[in-house]
C-alpha cells in the first residue's frame, strides 16, 4: 500500500515536472526561434540596405574618446592601441588606463608612443582610485593619454577613463581587442539616426583564426582549436541574434565591455560604472534603463551589428570556465541589484521580457537544468521513463539547437560576405552539435558552481592567457 502511495506521489510529482519542463522548453525554443529568425532577417535586410547605399555615408564629426582599461596586458596593449590608430574616423582620442599593473604594461605604451609625463588636473566626476601619473602624447592627429592609477578593478579604471576623457561620447574596449577600420563610424551611426540614443553596443567577434591588416579582415576561418571554434557558433546564436531581437523593443540589458559607445553626461548622471561588481558592463546598461525610465527621459539603447570589434576568446577550457564564472557572478550581482525591474510595468518590456529572460533562462537555468536531471534520475529509478522516446526527444532538441546555431552562423557569414572553406563548413556542422550537447552542459555546470566561493565587492581582473593578435 505504502509503495503504491509513494509511486503515486512520485508520478504526480513527475507529471508536474513534465508540464513545467514542456513550458520551460517551449519558452526557450520559441525565444531561440524568434531570435535567430529576427536576427537573420535583420542581417539580410541590413546587408541589402548597405549594398544599395541606404546608409549614412557622411562623416559627421561626433567626437569620441576610446577608453582602454588595462591590467597586466603588456603582451597585447601596444598592438591594440596601434590598431586603434588605424581606425578611419576623423575625431577621436585614446585614453589608456593602467590599473596598477604588476607587469610593464604602462612602460610598453610610453615607449611605443613616445609619451611624456604631465601634471594634468582630473575632473573627478565619478569615483575612482587616485592616479599615480599621467602621460600624454599623440600619434598623427590622435591624442593619446595614459593614466597610471592604483589598482581598483576594471570598473574603477573605466570611471577614471571617463573622468580624463575630453569628448561627449566614449567607447569602452578591452585591451586585447582590435577595432575594425570602420567600427567607430558604424557605432556612431545610431547617434546620427536618432536624437535620443544614450548607448550603442557593437558586435564582438572572435579574433582567433582570423588575420587582420590595418583593421581590415584579410583572412577568415573557424579557429583551429575546438574551444574557441565552438564559441564562434555560440556567440552568433546567443549574443548576436538575441541582441538584435532585444534591440527591436529597446530591451537590451547588455552592451559588451569589449565594445560599446556611451553618452558621457548620461553615464555620469547615472553614477558611472559600479566598482563593486564584476559584471560592470551589464550593470551599467541596466542602470541606464532604470535611470532614464525613472527620470522620464526619452531614450534609446541601440545595437549596431555592423560595428565590429575583434576580441580573443579563451583558448582553453580552464580559461573559458574562469570567464563564464565571472560572467555569471556579474549577472547575479546585476539581477539582484536591480531586482525591482522584474516584471515591473514601469520599466515596460525591459522589465517584462528582457529581465525575465535573463532571470529564467540565464541566471536560474543551471539550477533548473540540475533539477531536471535529478527528476530524470528519480523517473529512471521508478521506471517511469520511456528510454527510446527520451533519447529521440534529446536528439531532436540537440538537432534543433544545432540548426539554430548554424542558421545564425551562416547568416552572419553570408551577410558579411565571408568565404568559408569546405572543411570549415563541415567543422561547423559537427561543432554545432558538439556545442549544444557537450559545451552547453559544461557551461551549465560552470554556471551552477559560479556562486560557490562568491564574495561581494570582489574587484579582480580576469586572468586569462593572452596571445598576440594576428593583426598588422
Amino acid at each position: 500500500m505504502t509503495t503504491i502511495t509513494a509511486a503515486a506521489v512520485v508520478q504526480a510529482f513527475l507529471g508536474f515536472v513534465a508540464v513545467f519542463f514542456v513550458i520551460y522548453l517551449i519558452g526557450y525554443s520559441t525565444f531561440l526561434f524568434f531570435s535567430v529568425t529576427v536576427g537573420s532577417s535583420f542581417l539580410y535586410r541590413r546587408k541589402r540596405e548597405t549594398h544599395y547605399k541606404n546608409q549614412i555615408m557622411t562623416d559627421c564629426y561626433v567626437p569620441v574618446t576610446i577608453i582602454v582599461p588595462a591590467y597586466n596586458e603588456s603582451v597585447t596593449v601596444v598592438s591594440s592601441v596601434s590598431s586603434l590608430l588605424k581606425v578611419e574616423y576623423s575625431l577621436y582620442e585614446i585614453v589608456v588606463v593602467d590599473d596598477g599593473s604588476t607587469d610593464d604594461t604602462a612602460q610598453q605604451v610610453i615607449d611605443a608612443f613616445d609619451l611624456h609625463e604631465i601634471e594634468r588636473p582630473i575632473r573627478r566626476q565619478l569615483p575612482c582610485n587616485p592616479a599615480k601619473s599621467i602621460w600624454s602624447g599623440s600619434a598623427g592627429n590622435v591624442p593619446i593619454t595614459l593614466v597610471r592609477k592604483e589598482n581598483g578593478g576594471k570598473a574603477d579604471a573605466l570611471n577614471m577613463g571617463i573622468n580624463v576623457s575630453r569628448y561627449p561620447y566614449f567607447v569602452g574596449i578591452d585591451a586585447d581587442s582590435v577595432l575594425q577600420y570602420d567600427s567607430l563610424h558604424e557605432i556612431v551611426t545610431p547617434v546620427i539616426e536618432h536624437d535620443n540614443v544614450v548607448a550603442v553596443g557593437g558586435l564582438v567577434r572572435l579574433s582567433n583564426g582570423v588575420e587582420l591588416k590595418d583593421g581590415r579582415l584579410t583572412s577568415y576561418s573557424l579557429p583551429k582549436q575546438v574551444i574557441p571554434a565552438m564559441q564562434v557558433l555560440e556567440y552568433d546564436r546567443s549574443f548576436l541574434s538575441a541582441r538584435i531581437l532585444f534591440d527591436q523593443f529597446n530591451g537590451n540589458l547588455i552592451i559588451s565591455g569589449a565594445f560599446g559607445l556611451f553618452r558621457k553626461d548620461v553615464v555620469i548622471a547615472a553614477g558611472g560604472y559600479d566598482r563593486d561588481t564584476v559584471g560592470e558592463d551589464m550593470e551599467l546598461v541596466t542602470k541606464l534603463h532604470v535611470f532614464c525610465r525613472t527620470s522620464g527621459r526619452d531614450y534609446l539603447i541601440k545595437y549596431a551589428p555592423e560595428a565590429i570589434c575583434w576580441s580573443q576568446a579563451p583558448a582553453t577550457l580552464r580559461d573559458l570556465v574562469k570567464q563564464r564564472r565571472r560572467w555569471h557572478r556579474g549577472l547575479f550581482e546585476c539581477m539582484t541589484k536591480h531586482w525591482r525591474v522584474f516584471a515591473n510595468l514601469r520599466y515596460g518590456l525591459v522589465g517584462v521580457l528582457s529581465y525575465s529572460y535573463f532571470l529564467i533562462y540565464e541566471l536560474l537555468s543551471p539550477f533548473i537544468e540540475l533539477f531536471g536531471l535529478l527528476s530524470m534520475a528519480v523517473a529512471v529509478a521508478f521506471n517511469f521513463v520511456n528510454v527510446p522516446y527520451m533519447i529521440l526527444f534529446f536528439a531532436i532538441y540537440a538537432a534543433y539547437g544545432a540548426i539554430m546555431s548554424l542558421t545564425a552562423f551562416f547568416s552572419r557569414v553570408q551577410t558579411r560576405d565571408l568565404h568559408l572553406s569546405k572543411l570549415d563548413v563541415v567543422r561547423a556542422l559537427f561543432l554545432s552539435l558538439f556545442e549544444v550537447t557537450v559545451l552547453r552542459f559544461v557551461m551549465a555546470v560552470t554556471r551552477m558552481l559560479a556562486l560557490v566561493g562568491y564574495r561581494k565587492k570582489e574587484r579582480r581582473w580576469d586572468k586569462i592567457t593572452r596571445t598576440r593578435i594576428n593583426a598588422e
Binding site: 544599395y52 547605399k53 562623416d59 594634468r120 588636473p121 529521440l392 531532436i396 538537432a399
Partner: protein, 362 residues
C-alpha cells in the same frame, strides 16, 4: 500525444530552417553569377555606345538603358560600370552622361512608386551620375518629395542629390522641407551636406542667412555652423541671437562659435559677460565663450579669463587657460598673480595647459 506533436513541430522548424539555409546559399550564389554576367553585358553596351556616340547616345540605347535601370540590379551594374569608365576617359564619359540625362527623368517616374530602399539608391545614382543643369523639374520634384516622406537614408541621399545640382535657391528649399517634415534629421548631416554643395557656396550662404528666421532652432544651428565656415552671414541677426538670453541654447552656442571664427568688435562685451556667468545652467555657453575670447585680445578679456580660472566647472577653467595661452601671455609675468594666489585648481590648470602646449610644440 500532445508532446509528440510538439516534437513534430520542432522537427518541422529544424528542417525548414536547414532548407532555408541551403536555399539562401544557392540563391546568393546564383544571383552573384547572374549579376556578374549582367554587369559585363552592361559594360560592353555602355563601352560601345561611349565609343560610337558619346555626345548623342541613340534613342534605342537609351530605351534599353532605361529598361535595365528600372531594376535595382541593372542600376547597380550601371553604377559600377560608370565608375570604371569615368577613370578610363573622364571627358568622354561626362559627355555620355549628359547625353543620357532623359533616362534619369524616365527613371524618376519608374521609381516614384517604389519602396524607400529603391528610391534611396536611385537618389544616390542621381547624385553620382546625373549631369544636366539646371536639373529637370521632374527629378527635382521627386527628390524634394523623398525628403518629405522618406527614411533617414532616403532623405539624406535626396538632400545630397539636391546639393549636387548646384542651385542655391533649390538647396534652401530642400533644407526648409527637411526642417518642416516631422522626423529627426541630425543637424550635423545638414551642415555637412550644405558644405558639399556643388554650386556657388557664398551665394548659398547669403540665401540661407537671409531667411534664417524661418527655420527651427536645430536647423538654424546647422546653418550658422555652415556660415561660420564660409565666413558669411548676417552679422546683425547673429549678434542679436548671441545677446538674446531667450534664444535657443544650441543657436546661441553656434553664434558664439561663429564670432570666435569671425570676430566682431561689438561681440566682445557680450562674450565676456557670457563667459563670466556663474549660472550652472549656462556652463556650456560659458565654456565655449571662454574659447571664443581667444579672438578678442585686450586687458578686459584677460581679466575675465583670469577670473574664469576659478570657475567650479572644469571645462570652463580648461578653455580659459587655453585662451590665455593663445593670447600669448606669460605664466611668469602676466599670470604671476594667479600663480602666486591661493586657488590651487587655477594654478594646476594653467601649468597643465602650458606644459601641454610646450610639450606638443617640442
Amino acid at each position: 500525444m500532445q508532446v509528440e506533436w510538439l516534437i513534430f513541430f520542432y522537427i518541422g522548424v529544424s528542417v525548414a530552417m536547414a532548407l532555408f539555409d541551403l536555399a539562401f546559399a544557392a540563391f546568393e550564389s546564383t544571383r552573384d553569377r547572374s549579376f556578374k554576367r549582367r554587369t559585363q553585358r552592361m559594360a560592353v553596351m555602355l563601352g560601345e555606345e561611349i565609343e560610337r556616340n558619346a555626345e548623342f547616345p541613340t534613342p534605342e540605347h537609351k530605351k534599353v538603358l532605361l529598361r535595365r535601370m528600372k531594376r535595382l540590379a541593372g542600376m547597380e551594374s550601371f553604377d559600377l560600370t560608370m565608375e570604371k569608365f569615368i577613370v578610363l576617359d573622364s571627358s568622354k564619359a561626362e559627355r555620355y552622361l549628359l547625353g543620357i540625362s532623359d533616362v534619369f527623368e524616365g527613371l524618376a517616374t519608374a521609381y516614384s512608386q517604389r519602396k524607400p530602399l529603391n528610391q534611396a539608391y536611385y537618389a544616390y545614382v542621381v547624385k553620382r551620375w546625373y549631369r544636366l543643369r539646371p536639373a529637370s523639374p521632374h527629378i527635382v520634384h521627386e527628390m524634394l518629395r523623398y525628403m518629405e516622406e522618406g527614411t533617414v537614408f532616403l532623405r539624406q541621399n535626396a538632400l545630397e542629390a539636391v546639393a549636387s545640382f548646384g542651385d542655391a535657391s533649390l538647396m534652401v528649399r530642400a533644407v526648409r522641407i527637411l526642417d518642416e517634415q516631422g522626423s529627426f534629421h541630425h543637424p550635423k548631416l545638414i551642415t555637412e551636406t550644405i558644405l558639399s554643395f556643388s554650386g556657388e557656396r557664398d551665394a548659398l550662404a547669403d540665401e540661407l542667412a537671409a531667411c534664417l528666421d524661418g527655420f527651427s532652432p536645430a536647423a538654424q544651428a546647422a546653418i550658422i555652423n555652415f556660415l561660420r565656415m564660409r565666413h558669411r552671414g548676417n552679422g546683425e541677426w547673429l549678434f542679436g541671437a548671441l545677446c538674446d538670453a531667450g534664444c535657443d541654447q544650441e543657436v546661441r552656442l553656434s553664434c558664439v562659435r561663429y564670432f570666435m571664427t569671425n570676430p566682431l568688435e561689438a561681440a566682445a562685451a557680450p562674450l565676456r559677460e557670457m563667459a563670466g556667468s556663474r549660472n550652472p545652467g549656462e556652463w556650456e555657453l560659458a565654456s565655449v565663450a571662454a574659447s571664443a575670447l581667444a579672438s578678442y585680445p585686450g586687458p578686459e578679456t584677460v581679466a575675465v579669463l583670469k577670473g574664469m580660472l576659478s570657475s567650479p566647472i572644469w571645462y570652463v577653467r580648461f578653455n580659459a587657460a587655453k585662451s590665455l595661452y593663445s593670447l600669448g601671455l606669460s605664466i611668469d609675468d602676466d599670470l604671476a598673480d594667479v600663480m602666486a594666489g591661493n586657488d590651487r585648481y587655477a594654478k594646476e590648470m594653467l601649468l597643465y595647459r602650458w606644459r601641454l602646449e610646450e610639450g606638443e610644440v617640442a
